[in-house]
């Protein structure tokens, strides 16, 4: 057993309203630059839908993630190492810009400079890549809220698989349609296929917190990671010629702050915490023969920080005490292991993803209530889960490689919690049977309710700082401004010769405004 710590996220899909605040704030923070116009480290897609890039889940086409060889060993789906090196000249599995979308802006200038005339001036779309007028044909969220209708949605790879392999038709008629939102970031997998694909060894998993990063200095632009990631969450910056990806906002994490997407989530549906896992068991778990066993196999990889043996091993393996403490209080661990509510996204890719999802339950209550039954009665609810408007099979294809049982169990627990808490709120004697039926205690249901419904900030995010071990060093940072060097700008000095403030509003990204960076000063 070798203990490692991993920062992980859980998203409660019941609460996502698809407002895209996470996407926008993430973009403003990380990919608001030339070369990354089309890049969304965080995106929110509507399911059913094709996602971003379009149909990224179709691994027959994109060949991301891992597969098992005939001898049961893990191999990248893109082929053996030699085979992929042979494709350095042209990568057949690389999505093109069109598969994402051609980013655009508008010719706003004509709105103010158009000559006086009978018609109102129109701001026409302009390609952000070529600068030429363009017609907008797709976007990062083109089928938002089922936009585009049945012909668009039938191309959802999950819908297609349900239809072809299980014969389950997903209904798209307006009265029977269903949808929910799926926010996605990098999964920061335990067995990352992007890292394994990188020929330069520029991508790595951080030992301390498991965050997967691209070393911008060592990346040589072989773009194998882009096709290696089955979630298509590594992007190619066409300006710098380097790969970029979600960083799990590591500069914020290191000082104990949640990611920007989590911090700004208006639904408060994201949870961040530490998971301890046994790194020695990862490969074996990822090689589980039956895809449906991958979810339980990944659960087996996680370690219980309350187990004294694990705590001792963690200390031996150099996991700081603060991190073990954080793992004990981890909301993510509660949702994944204790309540078994959260499920991984596409475990069949065999990457052991670490951003998990609580499946959505909401529509069932409404649907039941509309038929005249008590929508929050346990018995009714349990029965209704079987005939959910969101088919359990669809959720199972997303979260458990097609095994509906874990999804049903998760939804039952959510239903039990609702029913239980309604009794509490109405002052009735809560039905203890609901809890025991789903294998939880009443206290656990209350704790679950607190975590999911109240979702206090400090309970959602339990993040040990990377700097705890270096607190003494960090003092120097915290107690004085880094600009306060002798004669530095913080001392009121600065480069007065460089002139006044920088007008960032009209800043042309091709240039560097004077005074943005301090020049070299004679020492």
């Amino acid at each position: 057993m070798r203990v490692m710590a991993q920062l992980a996220m859980v998203m409660n899909l019941d609460k996502c309203i698809g407002c895209h605040t996470c996407s926008v704030t993430c973009k403003q923070t990380w990919t608001n630059r030339e070369g990354t116009e089309y890049v969304w480290f965080n995106n929110v897609e509507t399911r059913p839908g094709q996602g971003y890039p379009r149909r990224y889940e179709d691994q027959e086409r994109w060949r991301g993630g891992w597969e098992l060889t005939r001898r049961g060993r893990l191999r990248l789906r893109g082929g053996s190492r030699l085979r992929r090196l042979g494709r350095l000249f042209a990568n057949p599995d690389l999505p093109e810009l069109t598969d994402y979308y051609e980013p655009w802006t508008y010719d706003y200038r004509t709105l103010t400079t158009a000559p006086l005339g009978d018609d109102s001036p129109v701001a026409r779309p302009i390609s952000a890549i070529t600068g030429a007028p363009t017609s907008v044909r797709s976007g990062p969220n083109w089928d938002d809220s089922l936009g585009g209708g049945p012909e668009n949605l039938a191309a959802d790879p999950v819908v297609a698989r349900l239809r072809d392999e299980l014969g389950t038709a997903v209904r798209f008629e307006f009265e029977q349609a269903f949808m929910f939102y799926l926010p996605r970031i990098c999964e920061h997998c335990l067995n990352p296929s992007c890292v394994a694909s990188c020929p330069s060894g520029a991508m790595y998993k951080r030992v301390e917190d498991g965050i997967v990063l691209v070393d911008q200095d060592r990346c040589r632009g072989w773009r194998m990671c882009v096709s290696g990631c089955p979630y298509k969450k590594v992007y190619f910056n066409h300006r710098t010629g380097k790969a970029e990806k979600c960083t799990f906002c590591y500069p914020r994490m290191e000082v104990g702050q949640p990611t920007v997407c989590a911090e700004t989530c208006v639904g408060r549906l994201r949870y961040i915490g530490v998971m301890l896992y046994d790194v020695d068991r990862v490969t074996r778990a990822a090689s589980t023969p039956d895809e449906k066993d991958l979810y339980p196999a990944q659960l087996d990889v996680f370690l219980d920080p309350d187990d004294p043996e694990v705590a001792a091993a963690a200390e031996r393996d150099g996991v700081p005490h603060e991190w073990v403490e954080a793992a004990r209080r981890s909301p993510v661990r509660d949702l994944i292991c204790t309540y078994r509510l959260a499920l991984p996204l596409h475990p069949e890719y065999r990457t052991m993803p670490m951003v998990w999802y609580v499946p959505p339950l909401s529509p069932v209550v409404d649907a039941l209530a509309r038929t005249g039954f008590d929508g929050e009665d346990t018995g009714n609810l349990f029965g209704a889960i079987e005939s959910l408007r969101i088919p359990v099979e669809y959720l199972a294809e997303l979260f458990t490689a097609g095994d509906p049982e874990p999804v049903r169990a998760s939804l039952r627990r959510l239903a039990a919690m609702r029913s239980f808490m309604r009794s509490v709120n109405l002052g009735e004697v809560p039905d203890g049977a609901a809890a025991s039926q789903v294998g939880l205690t009443e206290d656990q249901l209350r704790a679950m309710y607190r975590l999911l419904a109240l979702a206090r900030y400090e309970e959602r995010y339990v993040i040990p700082t990377a700097g705890v071990g270096q607190a003494h060093d960090l003092e120097a940072v915290a107690t004085r401004c880094s600009l306060d060097t002798d004669g530095g700008p913080g001392m009121g000095g600065g480069d007065s010769a460089r002139g006044g403030p920088v007008e960032l509003f009209v800043w042309n990204p091709h240039s560097r405004p004077d005074g943005l960076f301090p020049g070299s000063r004679p020492r």
Binding site: R2, M4, L76, R81, L85, L88, F89, A90, N91, P92, L94, P95, E96, L97, S127, I129, T130, A132, N191, V195, A196, C198, P199, S200, G201, Y204, K205, R206, V207, E208, D209, Q216, D217, R218, C219, R220, G221, W222, R223, V226, F236, H238, R239, T240, G241, K242, E254, V279, E315, D317, G318, P320, G467, G469, Q470, H472, D473, L474, A476, V477
Partner: protein, 259 residues
């Protein structure tokens, strides 16, 4: 032999090779971030998927052919019993095949770069200069091979160019050998020297990053977080570097080395 000949065939090679070597050292040390293929496949894939492999395989064949023709003395091949005629036929067959691949690939890639607006926009000045010189080198080379050796009477460059080329590396330059070489071969050599001098400042540096180490590396790379103190400058108390900065570890390191 005039001064111009000495400048062209002695001074220029050494200047070009010096720039080549020093330029690479400089670029490697100051510009790791710029050291990349700058592939444009994400912008345009269809033409590249045909053109790029053709060009690269052709170029690799051409490089192998040059290595054989320039670095292996004629006496050696004759010693193992390869007659001039046999060698000529072999070199010509390989050379023409490489030329076809390279030319078709280059034309496809050049057209793509001009016609496709996305790719055109990412082309910077250095790329344009590189394409110009590269096209010149390839054109002169192909004209020399096809025009002179296939259709023309043939020219035994192993008696002159190859000897001159090796002399440069032995610090025993023999510029007089190049004086009477046919113009097209002279131009090929000169444009190649310019290409060598440009090399470190262009995207051609990706050639040196051929990731062969990938074949024998563990799949998943683990690395330690760099200690913050390294970036804080002298003001911060320096942390003992050992075990913390670990750097390029390829396996999860064992033992207590967290701070």
């Amino acid at each position: 032999m005039t001064t111009v000949d000495v400048v062209l065939w002695t001074v220029l090679p050494y200047v070009a090779l010096t720039v080549f070597v020093v330029g690479h050292v400089w670029r490697w040390r100051v510009d790791q971030f710029g050291w990349t293929t700058r592939t444009t496949q994400v912008l345009e894939s269809r033409w590249l998927r045909l053109g790029s492999p053709l060009f690269h395989i052709g170029i690799l064949m051409a490089i192998a052919g040059h290595a054989m023709g320039l670095l292996v003395p004629k006496t050696w091949t004759e010693a193992v019993g390869v007659s001039e005629h046999t060698y000529h036929v072999m070199a010509l067959a390989g050379g023409v095949a490489a030329a076809v691949l390279v030319v078709v690939g280059l034309v496809l890639l050049l057209l793509r770069r001009v016609v496709n607006g996305r790719v055109r926009r990412t082309t910077n000045r250095m790329d344009k200069a590189l394409y110009l010189v590269l096209t010149a080198v390839i054109t002169f080379g192909v004209v020399g091979t096809v025009g002179r050796n296939l259709l023309g009477g043939g020219y035994d460059y192993r008696e002159t160019i190859a000897v001159w080329f090796r002399g440069v590396f032995w610090f025993h330059p023999r510029p007089e050998l190049m004086v009477d070489v046919p113009l097209v071969f002279q131009l090929h050599a000169l444009s190649a020297l310019v290409l060598f001098a440009m090399w470190p400042f262009t995207r051609l540096v990706h050639v040196w990053s051929v990731p062969l180490a990938y074949l024998c590396r563990p799949y998943v790379v683990y690395r330690r977080r760099r200690p913050r103190t390294a970036r804080l400058g002298a003001a911060a108390v320096s942390a003992p570097a050992a075990g913390v900065s670990g750097g390029r570890g390829h396996r999860p390191p064992r033992g207590p080395s967290f701070r």
